[in-house]
Symmetry: C2
Subunit: 335 residues, 2 copies
C-alpha cells in the first residue's frame, strides 16, 4: 500500500489553506490515516488538534505527541475505559462527545468533569440529539460539572451524488438551531468541508482528504490526481475484457455504496471498473484492452479509512520511488 | 472479539467426522482463522493439511508447524514471490493453483517444478479455466515439468438462499468434466461441504465452519448456537426501537450481500436487525424493547473471514470465562 507523499502534502496544505481563508478551525479526523507522521504534517500546517473515534486512538496520538484531541463519539465509560479517559484528560487537552443525559451522568460519575461537545443529528440519523433538544442537554451537562465547549455534527448523508450541498445546509441549520453562539460549532465531512459557505460552522473535521479515494473521485470532491493512496495489484488471471488482480477486500476494504460504479477505481485506467471483489480477488473490466498476467496496476480503494486499517505499514513514495515507510500506529485501535 | 472454544471444537469435530464418513479428504481453508492454535486443532482432528490464499499465509502456517499446504490461488510469481515459493516448497509438502499456461510457464521458469492443481471455474466466474479447457492445461503443465496432482474449484456462487444445491451440482459437473479420474478433485465451500452427495469431489476445503457467522445462519448452514465468534459491543446511543453500538465495520467487516437481512446478527436477540454500519457505529433495530445505554451485546459478523483479519488477538472463552488468548498470526498476510 503506497502513499504518494507529494500528493498527500498538497492535500494537507490545500485543506489547511482553505480553512484559514474562511476563518475555520481545522481539526482533521485521524481515523483515516491512524499514522503519527501524517498527524504531525497536519498540525505543522495549522490543524488546531486532531479528531479521533476511540479512546485507544486518542492514547496512541497522545503518545505520538499530539496535545489536543477530540473524541467525536458518544463514549460509554466502562470502568476500564473511564480510567483511561481520566488519564488522557490529565495529559492532553481532551474533548469528548455526549448525546444524552445518561452518558453525561455516567462520564461525570466515572471520569469526573470533562470538556464535552454535544452531538447533534443533522440528518445522518446515527447518534446525536435532535437540534431542539441540544439546549436541554447542554444545561444538564453543565449542571453535572462538565465544561460544555459547544456542539458537533457529522453530515454523513453528504456521501452521495448531489447530496453535498443539501447535507451542508442541514448541517448549518442543525448547528444554528442547536446552539448558534456556542464557542465550538463543529462539522464538516470531506465532501462538505470545501464548500464556500458553511453557515455557523466554525470548526471542520474532514478525514479522507489527506488520501482521497475512489468515492471522493466519484462524488466529484477530487480528481484522480489528488488520490495519494493506492494498492499495487498484480494481474493473476484474465478472460476476454476481464482481469483478476490479487487485491481483494482484505486489503482494499469492502465498502461499496449503491451509487458507486464498483469496488474501487484505477487512477491510471479511468475507464476500467472493479465489478466484483472477494477476499483476495478483484474482478476488473477493461473496455479498451485487458492487461497481461503479471502486469501491476494501481487500485484506489472506495473508502480509504477502512483500507489503511488493514495494513501495518504505508510505503511512502515520491516521484515513483520509495522514500520512507510509516507505521499505521493506530491500526485496529477500536476500543 | 471472543471465540467460544467449546463451540469451535464442536464445529471442528463435526466437519472432520462428516468428511471421514463420506471418505473425503478435509483440507480446511485457514484464511478464515489465520491462527496457529486453530490450525493445530483442525489437524489433530484429521485434516490432511491446510488451504491458504497467499504465500505469506503459507509461510506463517509453515512456521507454526503445518507440513502440508495448498495455496488455492493462481499465484503470479514476481521474482521476490518466486524465491519465497521455492523456499516453501523445499520445507513443506506444497501445492499451488494454476489457471493458465502463462502462469504454469512463469512458475516453471521462476520457481521450478511444483505440485500444482488446475483451477476450474464451476460457475463463480472469478478465476479458473472452463472445465473443457482443463485437459489441455494439465497437459501443458506436465510438459513444463510440474506434477499435476489434480483439479480444484471454489463454488462461491453457493452463497445465496437456495443456491447451495445447484452450486454443488455445478461443482460436481465441472470437476467431472475437467478431470474425473484426477488424484485430487477438490471443492467445497462451507455451504456445500456438508451435503451428502458431492459427486466426484474427494477433497473439501471449507473455511468459515470453524466459527460460522451471520451469513451461514441466514443461509441455513448452521444455527445461532453454532456461531463460535462474536464481537462484544456496548450500547452508546438509542432512540425509539433503535440502538447504536460501538462496533462498526472496522471490527465487524463491511461485507453485506444483497440477500442478507443486515450487517450481522445478534445470536442472543434473533429478532434484532443490524440495519446500518459505519466505521465505529452499528445501528440495530429491536422489535421487542431497546437495550439501555451501557448494555453489552454479542454481535455475530456477516462474514467472519474479514472480521478476524481486523484484530491482533482472539479472546478464547469457555463457559463465559476467558481461558486463553490466541494471536491472529496471519493477520494482514496478503502478499
Amino acid at each position: 500500500m503506497a502513499v504518494d507523499v507529494d500528493v498527500l502534502d498538497r492535500n494537507v496544505r490545500r485543506m489547511a489553506a482553505g480553512a484559514a481563508d474562511r476563518g475555520l478551525v481545522l481539526r482533521p479526523h485521524a481515523k483515516t490515516h491512524k499514522t503519527i507522521e501524517i498527524a504531525r504534517r497536519q498540525i505543522e500546517h495549522g490543524a488546531a488538534g486532531l479528531t479521533v473515534a476511540t479512546v485507544r486512538e486518542a492514547e496512541i496520538f497522545a503518545d505520538g505527541g499530539v496535545t489536543d484531541l477530540f473524541i467525536a463519539y458518544p463514549i460509554w465509560p466502562s470502568p476500564e475505559r473511564a480510567r483511561r479517559l481520566r488519564a488522557l484528560a490529565d495529559r492532553v487537552a481532551l474533548r469528548v462527545g455526549v448525546d444524552s443525559v445518561e452518558s453525561a451522568e455516567a462520564l461525570a460519575r466515572a471520569v469526573g468533569s470533562l470538556d464535552v461537545l454535544v452531538e447533534v443529528d443533522s440528518g445522518h440519523h446515527r447518534s446525536g440529539v435532535q437540534p431542539a433538544e441540544a439546549g436541554a442537554l447542554i444545561g444538564a451537562a453543565e449542571r453535572l460539572g462538565h465544561r460544555v465547549r459547544g456542539v458537533f455534527t457529522f453530515p454523513g448523508h453528504s456521501y452521495g451524488p448531489g447530496l453535498r450541498e443539501p447535507a451542508a445546509s442541514d448541517e448549518a441549520r442543525a448547528l444554528a438551531d442547536a446552539s448558534p453562539h456556542a464557542e465550538v460549532r463543529s462539522g464538516g465531512s470531506t465532501p462538505t468541508a470545501g464548500l464556500a459557505d458553511l453557515g455557523p460552522v466554525n470548526e471542520i473535521r474532514p478525514g479522507v482528504y489527506v488520501f482521497n479515494d475512489a468515492q471522493q473521485v466519484e462524488l466529484g470532491t477530487c480528481a484522480f490526481g489528488d488520490v495519494a493512496l493506492t494498492v499495487a495489484a498484480t494481474v493473476v488471471s484474465r478472460t476476454g475484457n476481464r482481469a483478476i488482480v490479487d487485491a481483494g477486500s482484505k486489503v482494499l476494504g469492502a465498502d461499496r455504496p449503491a451509487w458507486a460504479t464498483g469496488f474501487g477505481r484505477l487512477p491510471d485506467v479511468p475507464d476500467a471498473r472493479v465489478v466484483a471483489l472477494s477476499e483476495h480477488h478483484a474482478t476488473i473490466e477493461f473496455p479498451d484492452g485487458t492487461p497481461a498476467r503479471g502486469d501491476v496496476l494501481r487500485v484506489a480503494p472506495n473508502h480509504v479509512c477502512t483500507t489503511v486499517n488493514l495494513v501495518e505499514e504505508l510505503v511512502v513514495v515520491s516521484g515513483g520511488s520509495q522514500v520512507d515507510s510509516w507505521r499505521v500506529a493506530a491500526r485496529g485501535a477500536n476500543t
